[in-house]
């Protein structure tokens, strides 16, 4: 039941709250920040229904150097044991270019491998587009922070 309520509020938030607010930069920034957060939350709960709403069908996603489609990414999330991996956001900055937006930031990924916890930091850059009354993710990728 909680999942249904969350899903309902996400739909409401991503579409109704941004209705007619393309000129409202602050509102768009807050919406995209919230959607980035929902993406991380949805992934940690293996909630592909939420992710399906956030991602555009033609999503271009680069994961660990590989190009994956929306379907491939959702399939991986569905079968993955989310308790083994944890993602902690360290901050998101949103830049608005009319009906296109960039979100940049860093996150820390903790993975449990053979009883040991491995930790890696990544920097991401995501592209969002305002389509049919809501912001959707059209491209995303990250690079490991090595310097």
């Amino acid at each position: 039941m909680r999942a249904v309520i969350r899903w309902f509020f996400l739909v409401l938030f991503s579409s109704v709250a941004v209705w007619g607010q393309q000129g409202d930069k602050g509102g768009s920034v807050a919406t995209i920040r919230a959607l980035e957060h929902e993406w991380a939350e949805g992934q940690s709960r293996n909630d592909t229904r939420v992710l399906d709403l956030i991602f555009d069908n033609a999503l271009v996603y680069v994961e660990y150097g590989k190009l994956v489609s929306k379907g491939e990414y959702l399939a991986r999330i569905k079968r993955e044991n989310s308790e083994l991996d944890q993602i902690a956001f360290e901050g998101v900055t949103v830049h608005i270019f009319g009906s296109t937006a960039l979100a940049t930031g860093t996150y820390c990924e903790r993975e449990l491998r053979s009883g040991k916890t491995e930790q890696r930091r990544w920097r991401f850059i995501d592209t969002w587009v305002y389509k049919k009354g809501s912001w959707v993710l059209v491209a995303a990728g990250s690079a490991p922070i090595t310097r």
Binding site: V62, K66, G98, T100, L102, T104
Partner: protein, 145 residues
């Protein structure tokens, strides 16, 4: 009346110029711009050309996870000893006035007197603004399938 028709024709051209080109034209234009940005500019080190191609709000995440703005990228171009960028397997995804270009790359260069070769994947975001495409974001990451 002729003046009115001329004015309409002029207005038509002006409006058409501001419109997003059709998918085929946009794809070939973007492929050409990627070629200029990644292959020709590093060879000629023409900072002015790159300056015109990047939006002032341009952001780049480099292969080491660093965040660079337009000024940083132009400074990198000026400082590089030598750089050869070889892109391949490029694809364009159009989203209205936004385009995503993906591809693989190989870089051969020299920095601090030492030669290096790097391979990876890039994701570039372009925006159709003021009748032309400008780059607003670029990500480079190691690897590639």
């Amino acid at each position: 009346m002729r003046v009115f028709h001329l004015a309409l024709a002029f207005l038509g051209i002006a409006v058409a110029d501001a419109q997003i080109p059709n998918d085929f034209d946009a794809e070939s234009k973007l492929m050409a711009m990627e070629h200029i940005e990644k292959v020709q500019v590093p060879r000629t080190r023409d900072v002015k050309v790159l300056d015109a191609m990047l939006d002032d709000g341009f952001l780049c995440v480099d292969v080491e996870g660093g965040l660079l703005n337009k000024t940083d990228v132009l400074a990198h171009l000026r400082a590089a000893d030598s750089l050869e960028f070889i892109p391949n397997s490029m694809a364009v995804e159009l989203q209205g006035d936004t385009a995503i270009v993906t591809g693989l790359y190989r870089i051969r260069g020299a920095g601090r007197g030492k030669p290096f070769v790097r391979r990876g994947r890039f994701v570039d975001t372009w925006l159709y603004r003021g009748g032309r495409w400008v780059a607003i974001a670029s990500l480079s990451t190691p690897g590639g399938n």
